[in-house]
């Protein structure tokens, strides 16, 4: 699927605002309300939250970026930093680059602006946020902050009031009234500070969604027909499971909380053996525990979906931050030869359709599939265009009542054999992780092993994946290759370069990681002489994967960096400039 339909504007503009404060100060609430109000006014945007290691009460920042067209990455720097206090802000500062023309709003009561912030040379404007809050009965500093930002951004009162009403619907009229007054106090205080007008798109009017990638994946799964989920919580994947818990309840599906990931993957295998499209979601540590049983699903040809919301590794790593470093384990992490699928959405919006596609692929080929997203995609709240309906469904090739000897693992042209679902008379067989004959009977013979290995490989090699295998955008003799969430920053970089007249670079963002598609790749790369591979991990996993499975131009370079600092478009532009002139 070529994604050129995505909303791109000739003059895309965006504005980045960071709201920081220690736990309880409500920085995240301020940011969320800001984003929602901007959405009401027709903006696109994202909110990423970055928090300290504390479970509760630690420092936190809401990083909001709003604009007049789809936003798929963090920006290059922040236009406004609003600090309710400076508590432990040094732990977050690397994520909030400021420029000399940025505006810092700080409460003088909270002490001096920290050195690390001062070095930016940004304009500092002191406002007594705490004081102002106290001036309103039950007023809270985060509502003052919202008011300040609303004023700076020219947010319409109607939009702000609408989100406040929704937010405070359960708290009663008085709370709402107080909040609105507090917001107004903030507006008043900021009236002289100048304007950072919101780059507004068309009014949303039901055409947009506000969604995280985790919810988008969950929704895509449900839409494709997932009706059983086994769950073991893990950051940053838990919300996929939590959303599906209620989603399944509403659709007649079922969710079981498992004792661990060994159990959850095997519950999924059992349910899918029973004919029910099944899924689980996890992150690196959980995926590691599922490896043995994923191999069982390959051998016994049980379709299932595992969503891996990647975080920084190795081991427990950094649970709350993104990295693209589970490519290796997803592709290669099985013992024995175990052909299976790996796909990766490359934007929050894409989480819907790629997960939906993943369910379809798993069921169509009776194979386990791993969907690689990451903490950025999974937990970023994003304003997206309402996803169009795609019709990928869970459709499994099953038997009717077989006449004559049923062979579960029969050799067929496609490599996919009709599967008997328990309950079907005459279809009885034993699914087995031992090597087996076409009937499923355990076998130690070389010929049976070869036959079944060929079948397992061919069914995924021969499948027609259509255009959805990658997003290919642009033409030119240079190409940037990437995958997953890194795609967002590259898209923006290439768009900006194009505006600056550089139009010889194409983008190839791989959605189908394995099996490799060498023919499609060659076609997509026709005319390309040099490639730059961009990825967010320490060992250049994508680059090595591409070397192993594709023919790359000799002139190939990799630009990789471990997490958790996300690539910013400006960095990519810098790198591309340097690379072009090398």
């Amino acid at each position: 699927m070529n994604r050129n339909q995505r909303s791109a504007k000739a003059d895309q503009q965006s504005l980045s605002i960071a709201v920081v404060g220690s736990g309880g100060a409500g920085a995240i609430t301020t940011g969320t309300l800001l984003l929602e109000a901007a959405a009401k006014q027709g903006c696109y945007g994202i909110l990423t939250r970055t928090v300290g290691p504390q479970i509760r009460g630690g420092e936190a920042a809401a990083l909001v970026r709003v604009g007049n067209a789809a936003i798929d990455c963090v920006g290059d720097g922040f236009d406004i930093l609003l600090a309710m206090d400076w508590n432990n802000v040094d732990r977050l500062v690397a994520e909030i680059p400021l420029r000399a023309d940025s505006l810092i709003i700080a409460d003088p009561e909270q002490g001096k602006v920290p050195e690390a912030i001062l070095t930016s040379g940004a304009r500092i404007c002191e406002l007594p946020i705490g004081e102002l809050a106290k001036s309103v009965s039950k007023g809270r500093p985060n509502m003052i902050s919202l008011g300040i930002l609303a004023e700076l951004l020219d947010l319409q009162s109607s939009a702000v009031n609408a989100v406040l009403e929704k937010q405070l619907s359960k708290k009663g009229e008085a709370a709402l009234q107080s909040s609105m007054e507090t917001v107004q106090a903030g507006r008043d205080a900021a009236s002289g500070l100048g304007k950072y007008p919101l780059p507004v798109g068309d009014a949303a009017g039901g055409k947009r969604w506000l969604i995280t990638g985790n919810h988008a994946s969950a929704y895509g799964a449900l839409r494709a027909g997932i009706r059983f989920v086994a769950a073991y919580p893990i950051t940053p994947a838990t919300e996929v499971l939590e959303w599906l818990s209620s989603g399944l309840a509403k659709t007649g599906g079922r969710l079981v909380q498992a004792e661990d990931e060994l159990a959850s993957i095997n519950m999924v295998i059992g349910a899918s053996f029973g004919g029910i499209p099944s899924l689980t979601a996890t992150s690196g540590p959980g995926l590691s525990l599922m490896i043995e049983s994923l191999g069982l699903a390959v051998a016994s040809e049980i379709p299932l979906v595992v969503i891996d919301v990647m975080r920084v590794g190795p081991s427990t790593g950094i649970a709350t931050k993104a990295e693209q470093s589970d490519l290796n384990i997803a592709v290669y992490g099985f013992h024995g030869d175990a052909p299976h699928l790996v796909v990766a959405p490359n934007s929050v919006a894409d989480c819907v359709s790629t997960t939906q596609w993943a369910v379809h692929l798993a069921e169509a080929m009776q194979v386990p599939i791993i969907v690689l997203t990451d903490q950025y995609l999974g937990q970023t709240k994003s304003i997206i265009d309402r996803p169009s309906k795609v019709d990928y469904k869970a459709e499994r090739l099953t038997t009717g009542i077989p006449t004559g000897g049923y062979a579960r693992y029969a050799i067929t042209d496609s490599g996919v054999s009709p599967m008997a679902i328990p309950g079907t008379p005459g279809g009885q067989y034993t699914a087995d992780g031992l090597e087996h004959s076409v009937k499923g009977t355990p076998s130690t013979k070389a010929e049976d092993h070869e036959q079944q290995m060929n079948k397992r490989q061919q069914k995924i090699s021969n499948f027609n994946y259509g255009d959805h295998w990658a997003d290919v955008e642009g033409t030119g003799s240079l190409a940037v290759l990437t995958w997953g969430s890194t795609t967002g920053a590259i898209r923006e970089a290439l768009r900006k370069l194009k505006q600056a007249g550089v139009d010889d670079i194409r983008l190839l963002s791989l959605r189908l990681i394995t099996p490799a598609q060498p023919e499609k790749f060659t076609a997509a790369m026709t005319g390309v002489e040099r490639v730059l591979i961009v990825e967010q991990n320490h060992s250049a996993q994508l680059w090595h994967f591409l070397r192993a499975h594709y023919e790359l131009p000799k002139d190939a370079e990799v630009y990789n960096r471990a997490g958790p600092l996300l690539f910013r478009p400006g960095e990519i532009i810098e790198k591309i400039k340097q690379w072009r002139s090398a």
Partner: protein, 279 residues
């Protein structure tokens, strides 16, 4: 066995056997257990296509393929989660999990605990031979501490795991101990276990002819439990903790309602659900 409309006769145990010849050693207790399971299925007149037998890895775990039911021969230690997923997703099926003492209590111990707690309506049959048969004779959790093996010469020194007590302490709803060489009694407890709602656990002493020839003596050691089953778990636990491991019979029948697998909800339109995302 596929029971089409024409099959009107009462099924026989043989109807529940596949044509595959077991790989077991001559004299292995598992032959008897296979027979007892098929007898129970025949007595219950279950349609073989509506029964699924799920196992892990081990000699005993080979059972599914020897039956004419649907079967799943999974990986070592994970029979119970596979069975759980299947039963929750497909409450209409009769789901039986089978396996060995190593599979169930060593690598699979955690699932055993949680399956007992969760109380899904499945029946778990463990062929306990107090040894790892398939890997050629190492100590399992139920092995006596002084049993000599190459891996643990002179014995493990670790006291034997008490499966029935753990089952009771974790919440299994039906607990029985059988002996492979007691076809009538064991068949009956399998029948009762399948009938009983919730998680039913049946430990069957099933001798390993090859690595535990001493277990030939079991025939002379087992006896019917002196008192009938109770529905008081702590009384049942107390009895088992103080017996010698050779009292056989149904020891406990609980009345906890099984895991609620019937949750349906009125299926709502997916588009309606998605409205929550709309700005």
């Amino acid at each position: 066995m596929s029971m089409t409309a024409e099959t009107v006769n009462k099924p026989t145990p043989a109807d529940y056997r596949s044509g595959i010849k077991p790989i077991w050693c001559p004299g292995c207790g598992d032959y008897s257990v296979l027979l007892e399971i098929t007898k129970a299925l025949a007595t219950l007149e279950l349609r073989s296509e509506e029964v699924a037998i799920i196992s892990g890895i081990g000699c005993s775990s080979r059972i599914p393929a020897y039956s004419s039911c649907y079967g799943f021969h999974g990986v070592h230690g994970r029979a119970l989660p596979v069975a759980t997923g299947l039963k929750v997703a497909r409450p209409d099926l009769t789901v039986i999990a089978t396996g060995g003492d190593g599979d169930g209590f060593s690598i699979g111990g955690n699932h055993f605990l949680h399956a007992c707690r969760r109380n899904v309506n499945i029946t778990y049959i463990v062929m306990d031979n107090q040894v790892y048969g398939m890997t050629k004779g190492q100590a399992s959790p139920t092995t006596d501490p002084d049993w000599d093996s190459v891996l643990t010469p002179g014995g493990t020194g670790i006291r034997a795991f008490q499966p029935l007590v753990i089952a009771l302490a974790s919440g299994a709803n039906f607990v029985a101990r059988g002996f492979a060489g007691d076809p009538a009694g064991t068949t009956n407890m399998i029948i009762e276990g399948i009938r009983h709602p919730g998680f039913s656990f049946i430990q069957i002493l099933s001798p390993c002819a090859t690595f535990r020839p001493d277990q030939r003596e079991w025939r002379n050691m087992v006896r019917e439990a002196p008192v009938p089953f109770t529905n008081d778990p702590s009384r049942a636990a107390n009895r088992i903790m103080t017996d010698d491991g050779f009292n056989i019979g149904i020891l406990y029948r609980g009345d906890r309602p099984p895991y609620e697998t019937g949750r349906k909800g009125t299926p709502r339109d997916i588009d309606t659900i998605a409205e929550e995302f709309s700005v």
